[in-house]
């Protein structure tokens, strides 16, 4: 009997202990973090774009379906890899990370993997290749500890290729060729045109894709959801997205001319069979606000980079941007940046999306084409920089958006002052691919990191990556061994440090002091100079984009004058950018001008001594 009592007592203790231990571990380790506002002024930030799959593999447990030989395969990078390399990122001096889309993507389609993240399948689940929600929270939290912000990539325009158009009404996806391509002379040159018909990706039809049989058209073609779980090609989630009416169903944009056809740009499927979501529907707009704010509320991230903006109606952006700002502000997240990708060189078109309550900023493609490509790569006149800048006030929003981004004083920042500038990204060939001179790259970086805007550096730029167009420009980062001793790395690092040190380089106004029409051997060929002032402090930046010639900020030899600056005559300006040029100090002349000579492909940052 005693043994029985003892046994019962031990059993009771064991049960209590189990309950206690379970209770101890029942802490909300998975709870979303408290919302905090991490950004004082977005213009202080230097964005570092990371293609997660290619940056660093920090967790072998999520290595699935990897094929490192295939540039379009999964390569194993993940959020833990970024966490592991935060020291490197911090050492480089960048202050914000823009990472690949977080959601669960189509695994692969037509032999190409969805490593890039732009084939949404489940808008609210994490991409298991990258990690889980806890890991994403950890990435954001660890970044915040270092003063680094995190920007998520947003797709609202489309889903992956998750349905096909059942044009011939046989319930399965077909692809066939019609016609013979022959010309019949005996019938007056009648043609039998050769037409490829694919139910996955039919050409745009403004009426909607029609079904047709041998007897002719038979009405709007039904769409059929595909079910290939091995490839995660299954109907989209959340389940509300499985509504046929939530898609425009007009077929794929007919490239290349269709890109100039506004209706196709907005309503057509994206090449690759990415099905266009009917973003004009109010219920779709509200659902998009819900799913995308969900990511921020779950992680406390700081901004959105938004994909394929021009392929969505203006009305959507007005509702979406206002809705996101309102939801996040209510949750305690302020100064939330939303900048969009309008993959287009049309400056006015880019600017359009920064007006009327739409986006805080855009990816400044016109600047990439006209400044970095035309001037820094191809040796074009720096006058182009001035021309583009002069168009900014007209083309971009000049007033801050309600609940939009603000400066340190809480004053709204207009889109004209917050454009995201960049040399290259994952959709275009790297700078060095088209212009394989690292000095040119460094000069461009010099301008990028000192001129007006929020600079964005594509990962690997600091390691002199030189990949061509997609996917060659999406190199694995790890072969670089994250070397911090390279010249370009040091170059970027120093510029970032100076940008951090001198507030005018971040927040200051932008006054172009010198540009030139000349590109040959003239005195000022290749020179661009600007002054930036903030809170009474000014910085003069002079960059020489010329490939081979030392130039200066003067046209006296051409019958012109010198470069006027705001500094008082007699002011000694010293170059704070450390380089091998012994010529470090410049004095403002009595006429208020200063002549600064700069070696080819280099620049100077001059401050009052």
């Amino acid at each position: 009997m005693r043994h029985m009592r003892l046994g019962l007592l031990l059993l009771a203790l064991l049960l209590f202990a189990s309950w206690s231990v379970a209770s101890c571990f029942d802490v909300p380790v998975n709870a979303p973090p408290k919302m905090t506002t991490e950004v004082e002024d977005w213009r202080d930030e230097i964005i570092y774009q990371i293609l997660v799959d290619r940056f660093e593999n920090g967790d072998k447990n999520n290595d699935y379906n990897l094929d490192l030989r295939a540039p379009t395969g999964w390569h194993g990078g993940d959020w833990q890899g970024i966490i592991d390399r935060l020291d490197y990122i911090e050492e480089l001096g960048v202050t914000a990370l823009w990472i690949s889309p977080n959601y669960k993507n189509v695994e692969q389609d037509a032999g190409i993997s969805g490593y890039h993240g732009y084939w949404p399948q489940d808008f609210v689940s994490t991409n298991p290749h990258f990690g889980d929600m806890n890991k994403l929270r950890e990435l954001v939290a660890e970044s915040h500890k270092r003063g680094i912000k995190v920007i998520f990539d947003v797709v609202v325009n489309h889903i992956g290729q998750l349905f096909y158009y059942d044009i011939n009404l046989n319930g399965r996806p077909d692809e066939h060729v019609e016609g013979s391509g022959l010309v019949y002379d005996q019938y007056g040159g009648a043609r039998s045109d050769l037409v490829r018909v694919t139910e996955w990706d039919p050409d745009f039809d403004p009426r909607g894709i029609h079904s047709r049989t041998s007897l002719g058209e038979a009405g709007i073609a039904p769409i059929r959801w595909v079910y290939m779980p091995e490839d995660n090609r299954v109907p989209p989630m959340p389940k509300v997205f499985q509504n046929d009416d939530w898609y425009n169903r007009k077929g794929r944009v007919v490239t290349p001319w269709g890109w100039n056809h506004r209706e196709q740009v907005v309503l057509a499927d994206f090449p690759g069979g990415l099905k266009d979501i009917k973003t004009s529907l109010p219920e779709v707009q509200q659902e998009m606000i819900r799913v995308w704010t969900h990511w921020i509320l779950e992680t406390n991230a700081d901004g959105f980079r938004i994909d394929t903006v021009k392929h969505v109606e203006d009305e959507f952006w007005k509702v979406f941007a206002a809705g996101v700002r309102k939801e996040l502000k209510a949750a305690g997240k302020n100064n939330f940046l939303m900048f969009g990708e309008i993959f287009d060189g049309d400056d006015a078109l880019l600017g359009h999306y920064t007006k009327d309550g739409m986006l805080d900023s855009v990816f400044y493609f016109s600047h990439k084409y006209q400044v970095f490509d035309d001037v820094f790569k191809r040796g074009g006149a720096t006058k182009k920089i001035e021309d583009l800048y002069n168009a900014r006030q007209a083309n971009y929003g000049t007033t801050p958006h309600p609940n939009g981004i603000v400066d340190a004083n809480g004053q709204g920042i207009a889109p004209t002052r917050a454009l995201v500038t960049f040399l290259d990204n994952h959709d275009v060939a790297r700078f060095l691919y088209e212009f394989n001179q690292v000095e040119g790259l460094r000069a461009a970086l010099f301008y990028l990191l000192t001129a007006d805007g929020i600079p964005c550096i594509y990962y690997g730029t600091e390691q002199d990556f030189e990949g061509g167009n997609d996917p060659a420009n999406r190199e694995d980062m790890w072969p670089s061994q994250f070397d911090t001793s390279g010249t370009t790395f040091k170059h970027v690092q120093q510029l970032n440090q100076l940008r951090k040190k001198y507030a005018p380089l971040r927040r200051g106004n932008f006054q172009l002091r010198w540009t030139s029409e000349r590109t040959a051997t003239e005195q000022d060929a290749g020179i661009v100079a600007f002054e930036r002032s903030y809170n009474g402090e000014s910085v003069l930046v002079v960059v020489n984009a010329h490939a081979s010639k030392t130039s200066e900020t003067s046209a006296t030899s051409l019958g012109g004058g010198g470069m006027p600056v705001s500094f008082a005559p007699g002011t000694v300006l010293v170059n704070v950018f450390q380089d091998d040029d012994a010529n470090k100090e410049f004095v403002v002349a009595a006429d208020g001008t200063v002549t600064v000579s700069v070696k080819p492909r280099s620049g100077k940052i001059l401050v009052k001594k």
């Binding site: 999520n62 379906n65 319930g171 959801w225 079910y227 290939m228 779980p229 091995e230 109907p235």
Partner: protein, 504 residues
Amino acid sequence: MEEVAAEPEQPEPAPVVQPEPAAVVVEPVVVERPPLGRDAAGPVVAEAEAEAAVVDEGIRSEFIFGSYGRVRAATDLQGSTARPVNVVTYGSRIDEVSYAELEFRQRFLTPERNTSTFHSEVVATLAFLDDFFHYTGRFEQSLAMRNLYAELGWAGGLVDVSLWGGSRMYRGDDVYLLDFWPLDNLNTVGGGTRVAMGQDFGRTEIKVHAGVNRLVDPYQLQVVRVPGIEFGADDVVFLDRQRFIVSGRAEQQLWLAPQGRTGLKLAVYGESQHLPEGTQRLADGVNERTVPEDDGWLIGTQLGFWTAGEGLFAGSFANLFVRYASDLAAYGEFGIPYGVNLEETSQGASELLVALSGNLETPWAGLLVGAYFKDFATAGRESTFRDYWETIVAARVHAYVTRHIHPGVEISHQVRQHGGPFPETESYSSPRFEVPAVTKLSFIQAFSMEPSMYSRPQLRLIYTASMLNESAQRSYRPQDPRRELDVQHYLGVMVEWWFNSASY
């Protein structure tokens, strides 16, 4: 000849070795439960390869090995394997394929106390079908677990009660010549009970059973591939519909001679099946449909006569079976309903079956007969090719030339009439109703231990000519060379045995 219609597949049945109880007198083949009270005429416990051992204070333990088997080697005289030729569901077994069961049982028995005993046994029956290694050259085998159950029982006085649970084939008397159990034949996982009571004039037995199956068919089981929690795909059991089956059987024996050496028996059998509603994922992987619930019932009766012991006709018997099945039960417990109604259920399907089995034994010769008539209607609104009636009559006679040499002849005729035109030969203006028929004539030279139709082991040399009418030939696909043959030959040797194998 294979079935033309998609008849629900029958499990390969094990043979009934004794038309109860007559056969037990003929051959000590059945290891039976302990004797029931004064039921001295009950089945005799075989002196099998039982190894008795004392387990614990008087509990006796026996291991018993039993087996049923038939193995044949046969040619069609054209250099190919001779295959069964039938147009009805249960044709003559003269040309059927090889099959074997190995049965293992362990029995425990308490000593008798106050005229009562407890007993239990565990039974495992492994069954092997046809594709034996020495014929196929493939070191693999189709096998099934036909029994795996345990039974516990108590016997005392005039009453014998037992309970069982497990996986079991559960059935009554057969028509040997057709390898067919016309009244009750269930294969389920479940349990049941049996109560038997002895009287001066006979014996009463009541059996009740409940069991389930969940066939590997999209009708009852559907496993769908879904995206994995993280990567790849996982299998998820999406549809899992158990078929719930309840059966009951009551049998009354009336003994016309002492100790039941001659007697009559009347059995009544009933069965109910139920399938719950389920949701099935369609082939597109996205859409779903509701599979409606379904049920059915079956009722039947058996009237039997036997004479055993000694005498001119000792070992003779006759059994008449009548059965009617409705709705789901008309398809059998392994059947997937076809020809369903507008609600996609089997409601409206029916099966009427009348069968006869008999054996006439004399000291000089024996005569076995088997026959049945079956009328089957699907639940569809129209009478189609899927609806049919069919019948077969078979008779086998052996002359006991010597104690061990028994030449014989078997003749059978089978015919099926479909309810609608045969799809291959139908014409819009004059639909053609095919009536396939097969007549088989067999010559048998049998060798066995005793002069009895049920003496086993038995070795037979067999020649069979199966004569097909044109309709029967057309029931082969056009690409099948047998379609051209109005006579198919079978020449072979078959051995058949059974001992200690009667766990039904």
